[in-house]
Structures are given as C-alpha cells and as structure tokens.
C-alpha cells in the first residue's frame, strides 16, 4: 500500500510551515533515514527523513510553497512490491455534514422566553436527584454511650486507632513527635508507636509532601501533617501534580493512598499569611478527596475513613475548633462515609449550607432566626470533594431558599459552587437567589477589630436569611 507523507510538525504547536526544498524527485528509491526535504518554520529548519523504504511515487506540494498546513499530504511513497506509477494522490476528505437546523433564537427586545418550552426540558433535566444508592452514616446502636471529646483528641484517637490496626500507617511532619504537634494533635503517638512511625521532619513542606507521595506509592499509608495549610502552599505541587494525578496518568498503576492534614482557615490574630482557607483550592482538583469536618465525631469518623481511602485525601482541620468538645459515640470503630453531607439541624424555611467552623456560625444564626420565627435547616457538607449536592438540593426542594456560609473568600469559593449547583439543578425550586455569606475579599488583617469585621459572623447570616425570606 502506498504511504502518505504528511507535512510534519516540528513541535506540537506548529500549524504550518514552508516546504523549502525537495532533496528527492519522483521515481527516486529511498530508504529509512534518507533526507527527503527541508521544512522551515519561523523558528527553525528541519530535515524531513524517510521512515520506510520505497519509491517516491508522487510529489504533491512543490518546493518553495509557503504556509503548508501540518498534516497535508505532500508526497506519496510506493511501498515494497508496488508500482510507483499506479499510485494515486489521496482523495479530498468528504465535506463536513451540513449543520443541523438552527434552533429558535431569542432576539433581545423581541419578547422573552422564545423557545423556552423546548430548551427547558434540556436545562432542568436534573430535576430528579439520581435514585442511586448513596452512602449514609452507619446507625449508632441503641444504648451506645456518648463520650465528651475535644476535636483535638478525636483526631488523635482516629490516627492512633488506625495505626494500631494497620502497621503501614505512619505520621510525618514538623514537630509531630517529641513536641506532640504544634497544636498537640499528635499527643501520645510517639510514646505508643515510636520514632519510626511518628517522624519529625526537616522544615520543608515541599520535601515531606513529595516524600510522603513516594512512600504511599511504595506501599505505606502516610499521614502528612502540615503545621498549617498555609505552609503547604510550597507543597501544593506534590499534592496536585503528583499525588492527585499519578494514578490517572500511569493508567491506574501508581496509586497514592495518603492523607495530608492540618489546620486550615483563620485562627485568631495570626495575620494574613496564616489565616487562609484552602478548601476551594483543593476542592477544584480531580483526583483529590477533600474533607473539612466541624465537630469531633465527624473529625474522628472521617479521618479514619481518609486513612483507609485508596485515594489521596486533603483533610482540613481548624485551629479554633481543636479545643471544642462534642459528644462522640463510644464505638470500637467509628467510621463515616466520605462524600456525604449531614443535616445538623432540621428546618423548613431556609437552608444554611456550610462546612468546618462555618457550621458553628450557621447554627448560631439558626438559633437567632428561630427567635424571629424563621425555621432554618443547617447542612454541614463535611466533604468538599466529592460534594454531596443531592442533600443540598433535597433541602432546597423543601425550603426553596439557600444561604451558604463560608469562612473564606467569596470568589471561586465553595459558596460559589453551591450557588452554581442550585441554579443549574435546582432553578425551579428557588424562591430567591442563593446568597453567599463569606469573609471580606481582603487579606485577613491582624488588628482584632478589623479581623472581626473581615470574618463571617452569625449576624450577617441572619441578615442574608431574612433577605432571601423577604422579611
């Protein structure tokens, strides 16, 4: 069969070039490696070599031709045992099919909703949430004792339990061993598990994030503690470019079961560089799981799930929550499903969606709203990726109003995402626009009065809830 020689690309971005010179003519015998032609681009000249042997049957583009598109057939080679004189130039590609009939057009000023009836079905076809089995929290057996525990202890217990059960699990980070963690989350772990499994590291988040990624691919189950996620910005290359996508790029060969955890978001007067919420950053990355719990029971149950996950997990804690106490069911193995939101307060009038420390703000606002006769439902997303949009949409269906509360910046936030989901998939149930209550769009100031003004608070949530309730 004749071989088509096509205008080659010097680089993946080259679109056209000049066929400067032919070094062969029709009828010439060529063998692999022979230079056939010279091609010029604005950047370089390259020699175009034969890959296969054969006879030049036809030259289809004359030398000196400018702007030859990459992929154009420029010559034909007759293969072995083929008569060069019978080789035909390739036929032109068939014309593209005619475009489908134009859809009705909504002309501005000519009346609204032209064609809406037809397009509506397409736009709102998500109206029934998928009826697939969804994960749900395991039932807590009757009579289970509840124990009051801080979030800090809950996180430590989750790690300790998983380390007891699986000797591949280890903790690594700055100050995690002797010092027991900058925020004392790894308290007692060194004593129980020793320095080979609770490892103090040099001060380079970049280094130990990369190290952990390699260790995970090497068969261990690392928990990498960042002193805060603010310091993980230099590690984000390993988290996103390696941990999150190596499995995909390797065709499923190189799995990376690792947990990156540490405090995230604003604490108290630690300034602009130490007060940032990275939830939306990581939640935008395919391949990562992102968890941001609020209370102690969720912190424990979800961290255990994260450590068992086959996927890389970014686990976002909050410094201000570490010392807060909550009831935890006293179970041997309290594990919660990843990707499932929780309704922390039922209500009928407006849905307040939040995660992490924002859930506390939303609950406080709900109490205040109750005093005004507005019955708010509060949803704790718990997992930011994959996002449990079904729980949000089901609640929207009931209350017809959504306010998202987020301790973080407004632009490209989780609040933005929830707002988009409500509009795309819940448009017909909305009685008011979705409102975002977030921090001010500024680096967080240090001064106490300014910091307070820049952060979300219950009063602003109440105001937003009133607004969407038209009260």
């Amino acid at each position: 069969m004749a071989i088509e020689l096509k205008m080659p690309a010097l680089s993946p971005t080259m679109e056209e070039g000049t066929l400067a010179k032919w070094l062969v003519k029709e009828g010439d015998e060529v063998k692999s490696g022979d230079i056939l032609a010279e091609i010029e681009t604005d950047k370089a000249t390259m020699e175009f070599e034969a890959v296969d042997e054969g006879t030049i049957a036809k030259i289809l583009v004359a030398e000196g031709t400018d702007a030859v598109k990459v992929g154009t057939v420029i010559a034909m080679i007759a293969g072995e045992d083929e008569d060069a004189s019978t080789v035909e130039a390739p036929k032109a590609a068939p014309a593209a099919p005619a475009p489908a009939a134009a859809a009705p057009v909504d002309v501005p000023g000519e009346g609204k909703d032209v064609g809406r009836a037809e397009s509506e079905a397409e736009i709102t076809k998500h109206d029934a949430p998928p009826a697939k089995p969804r994960p749900s929290d395991p039932a807590i057996p009757d009579g289970t004792k509840m124990v009051t525990t801080t979030v800090r202890e809950a996180l430590r217990d989750a790690m300790a339990e998983e380390m007891r059960g699986d000797d591949r699990v280890f903790v690594m980070g700055e100050e995690v061993a002797e010092y027991q963690g900058a925020y004392k989350v790894t308290q007692g772990l060194l004593e129980e598990f020793g320095p080979a499994r609770v490892i103090d590291t040099p001060i380079t988040e970049y280094g130990f994030a990369g190290l952990g990624t390699g260790a995970a691919m090497g068969g261990l189950r690392p928990i990498v503690e960042f002193m805060t996620f603010n310091f993980a910005m230099q590690a984000i290359d390993h988290i996103i470019n390696s941990a999150a996508k190596t499995n995909y790029m390797s065709g499923g060969q190189m799995r990376c079961p690792i947990v990156f955890r540490g405090p995230n978001g604003a604490a108290s007067r630690v300034g602009a560089q130490h007060s940032q919420n990275y939830g939306p950053w990581y939640a935008s990355v395919p391949g990562l799981i992102v968890i941001a719990p609020y209370d102690a029971a969720d912190a424990k149950g979800l961290l255990k799930a994260a450590i068992r996950s086959e996927d890389p997990v970014v686990f976002l804690e909050n410094e201000l929550m570490y010392g807060k106490s909550f009831d935890i069911p006293d179970l041997d193995d309290h594990v919660l499903p990843i990707g499932k939101a929780r309704i922390v307060r039922e209500g009928a009038d407006v849905t307040l969606v939040s995660y992490s420390i924002g859930v506390g703000v939303a609950l406080e606002a709900a109490e205040m709203l109750a005093g005004e006769g507005i019955d708010a439902e509060v949803i704790d997303l718990r997992t930011l990726r994959p996002l449990d949009t079904v729980t949000v949409l089901e609640s929207l269906k009931k209350t017809n109003r959504v306010v998202v509360v987020e301790e973080g910046w407004p632009t490209c936030s989780i609040a933005s995402e929830i707002s988009a989901v409500c509009m795309e998939q819940g448009f017909d149930w909305l009685d008011a626009p979705v409102l975002r209550v977030t921090n001010e769009d500024v680096p967080l100031p240090y001064a106490a009065n300014l910091e307070k003004l820049a952060l979300v608070d219950a009063a602003r949530v109440v105001a937003a809830a009133r607004k969407v309730s038209y009260r």
Binding site: P8, P202, G210, G218, G251, P286, E310
Partner: protein, 426 residues
C-alpha cells in the same frame, strides 16, 4: 539603569552583574578547553562504607575505566564477563535504533513529540544492569534505557508514544512519559525533579518495611536548581535513605548551558558534600565506569551505609526534543569535538580490543535491531498512530481518577455515553 544611585556614596568601583555565557555559540569553533579529563584508571576506589568526608576528591575528579585503547583499567574496572558486556552493548544499540526510528516517526506525524538520548545511552543502561531487577527507578525523561534494559516490550513503548488503542497508559500521558510498576519504572513527571523526593520517600518506605529493594532516581544538571533536589538530599541524609541520586550532566538544559545551574562554580557531584552524602563524578560515556559506580552505590545503599550522589558527565548530542533545534544556540560541531566520545563506540572498541567482538558482528547486530524496531513499529501502527482515530474508548477518560468511581463522575460518564449513542446510534 534608571533607578541607579546617581551619586555614589564612595569612590568604590561600580558593581557588575555576571551572566553566564557558554564557551562557544553558533558560528564559533566548539571549545571544550575548560573540561579537564582525568586519565582512565587513576581514581582510587574507596570501600563502599567510606565516610563521605574521606572521599571528597571523588566529587571533583572523574571515575573512568575505559582508556583510549579500549582497555578497562584501574580499580573501578568491573569484572564483567564478555557475555554481559555484549548484552550491555546490545541494549545500548537497541535504544539508539529505537530513538532513530521514533524521531523519524515524529517527523512523519505519527506522534506529536519525542526525545532521544543519543550520546547518553551509557547513563541508563549500565546503571540498570548494576541494580537489582526489582529496585525501583524514578527516572527523568532521557532514561528510556531503563525500560530497554529491563526488557520492557518495544511495542508497548511505541503504543504509548502513538497514544493508540493499546497504549498502556490509556492515552493520558505525553509521549515518552512511560510508566510501568511491573518494571520498576515510576511515571515520568513533566514537572522537573518531583521524582527526587518521591524516590527518597519510596526508599524510606522500603527501609521502614524491612525490604531489600533500594531506589534510584535521575535528573538533569539543569534541574538540580529545583527545590525538590535540595529537599530530597536533605531528607536522604537525615534518614540515611537507601537511594542513588543520579545527575545526568549533559551540559544543556534545552538552550541553557550548565553554567545556568551553577556549573561554572563547582561540580554537580559536589552538591552532595554539603549534605554529607557520598558523591562520585563519573565519565558518563564510559559504560563500565557507570556500571562500577552504580554498583558501588547500590551495595552501599543496600547495606544501610547511606545514599550516594553520582554525577554522570556526558553530552547531549542532539536537540532537547523534536521541538528543539540546537543549531540556534550552540556551536555546530560540539558533538564531534566533545572529548569523551560516543558511549557505544567506546564499549564496542573495548570488546573488539579484547577479542570479544568485531565489526561484522556489530553491523549485523545493528541491522537486526533496526529490523526489530521497525517490526515493532509496524505492529504498533496497527493499533493506531496520532490522529488516526484508533484510541482508547472515550469513557476510559473517567476511570482511575479515584480508586472507585464517585457518583458525580459516573453521572458524567453516563451522560457522555448517552450523548454518544444519540449522535452515533449503533
């Protein structure tokens, strides 16, 4: 410059900025007069458990085994039998044949991109042969020799390069960014040197598990400037990780000569000294020297004596990639003026000089390998080439993002399949 202090505060001479400039540029005669080449055989071979401080000179010298007459001389000469050396030569010739054909295949539009390792064949192949088969390699992008020396099927390499229906990486990676867990070949990263700390992590995991496998990793001299490099060396030193760091100093990072990575000031091997890591500087075009150095480092790592940094001094004979044209930035004849020669010719000369090889057998082998690569190429083309429409089923796009496909990806996949069925009914 505009903001320069207009009235000097003293009569000091003004400061001047140094911008590195290579010894020769296009149009100049190539100049390697700055390169000091030690004689083969003169570098002593320390014990594998030596204290790095006791072997500092090795970071500035050059371990060489093959002399100008093709004899293997000095304490580093590995005692390899002729059969092993012929196998080494065959692997190196196979890589070269593969590179030649794939380069031309790119020019024919069968792939968008290719990178040759011409002149650097001795960096990866003897090193791989000196490692154990199940040691884990974290390569950069010019170590296709690792896969070749571990007998990875050529057709699978080509399937990956053509991103076709049999691509083992399912059409998800740039051409040449191979990955094979089974062959101890970690996925190549397009973000330079990320493999360095990952390799240390792998090595530490191996040590933590009480395994016997070590890790080896490679980067170019240009990417030693990355923070990864320094973080990796810090960790390897702190935890005495069982790892071999290889710096392939081929003197060019695309168009930036090694001076832009600090090569004017010291050797790249000397980077190890500041970390207390044993360092060897090796003639990277001397297959037997690379084998011996890697074996030394592997024995050291495997007996818990610590990491080693090896600088392979070599020369990138061709362009950086198919997208590069080096005639725009370096002297044309550097390849021939380069004093350490061609690694294949040098190993061949050694085998011929010792009566274990001859020109006829060499030519016959070259032809055999060229035919073998050609046949593999033809076979791979049956699975498609770039843009020919034979590729992975598109729903595979949604697979392997997570261990289990989450509901939102499943929904996207089902929607995409439904749209496909609507547009192109079966």
């Amino acid at each position: 410059m505009a903001d320069r202090q207009s009235t000097p505060k003293s009569n000091l001479a003004p400061l001047s900025l140094h911008v590195p400039e290579p010894p020769s540029r296009p149009g100049d005669a190539p100049d390697f007069s700055h390169v000091e080449i030690l004689k083969a055989g003169v570098t002593p071979r320390p014990a594998e458990d030596s204290d790095p401080a006791a072997m500092r000179d090795h970071a500035y010298g050059l371990v060489r085994v093959l002399d100008d007459d093709g004899a293997a001389v000095g304490p580093w000469a590995p005692k390899l039998d002729a059969e092993t050396k012929r196998r080494m030569l065959k692997y190196m010739l196979r890589v070269r044949a593969f590179d030649d054909r794939m380069y031309r295949a790119q020019r024919q539009g069968k792939t968008s991109f290719y990178m040759k390792c011409t002149g650097e064949e001795a960096v990866a192949i003897p090193a791989t042969m000196a490692l154990d088969r199940d040691d884990m390699c974290f390569p950069s992008y010019r170590q296709q020799g690792i896969l070749i020396a571990r007998d990875y099927p050529l057709i699978d390499m080509i399937n990956q390069i053509y991103s076709n229906s049999a691509d083992p990486l399912k059409g998800r990676q740039l051409p040449i960014m191979y990955s094979s867990r089974e062959h101890g070949f970690f996925s190549i990263s397009g973000n330079l040197t990320t493999q360095y700390p990952q390799a240390v992590g792998y090595a530490m995991a191996s040590a933590a598990k009480g395994d016997t496998r070590i890790a080896a990793t490679w980067c170019g001299e240009g990417s030693t400037a990355e923070g990864d490099f320094h973080a990796a060396l810090t960790f390897a030193a702190v935890y005495n990780a069982p790892i071999i760091f290889n710096i392939v100093n081929n003197q060019w990072a695309i168009s930036s000569f090694s001076g832009f990575a600090g090569g004017e000031r010291t050797t790249f091997a000397a980077r190890g000294l500041g970390y207390g890591i044993a360092a060897l500087r090796v003639d990277g075009n001397d297959a037997l020297a690379v084998y011996a150095a890697t074996r030394w480092a592997a024995d050291r790592a495997r007996t818990n004596k610590g990491p080693t940094l090896i600088e392979h001094f070599t020369y990138r004979s061709e362009g950086h990639s198919t997208s590069d044209d080096p005639s725009g930035y370096r002297a044309a004849d550097e390849k021939t003026a380069w004093p350490l020669g061609d690694p294949i010719e040098r190993l061949k000369a050694h085998l011929v000089a010792s009566g274990e090889w001859d020109d006829d057998r060499h030519e016959a082998l070259r032809t055999e390998l060229s035919d073998e690569v050609k046949a593999a190429g033809k076979e791979a083309e049956k699975n498609g080439v770039l843009g020919h429409g034979l590729h992975q089923p598109f729903e595979t796009m949604f697979e392997d993002v997570y261990a289990d496909m989450p509901w939102h990806l499943r929904e996207q996949m089902e929607q995409a399949l439904a749209e496909k069925d609507a547009k192109w009914p079966k």
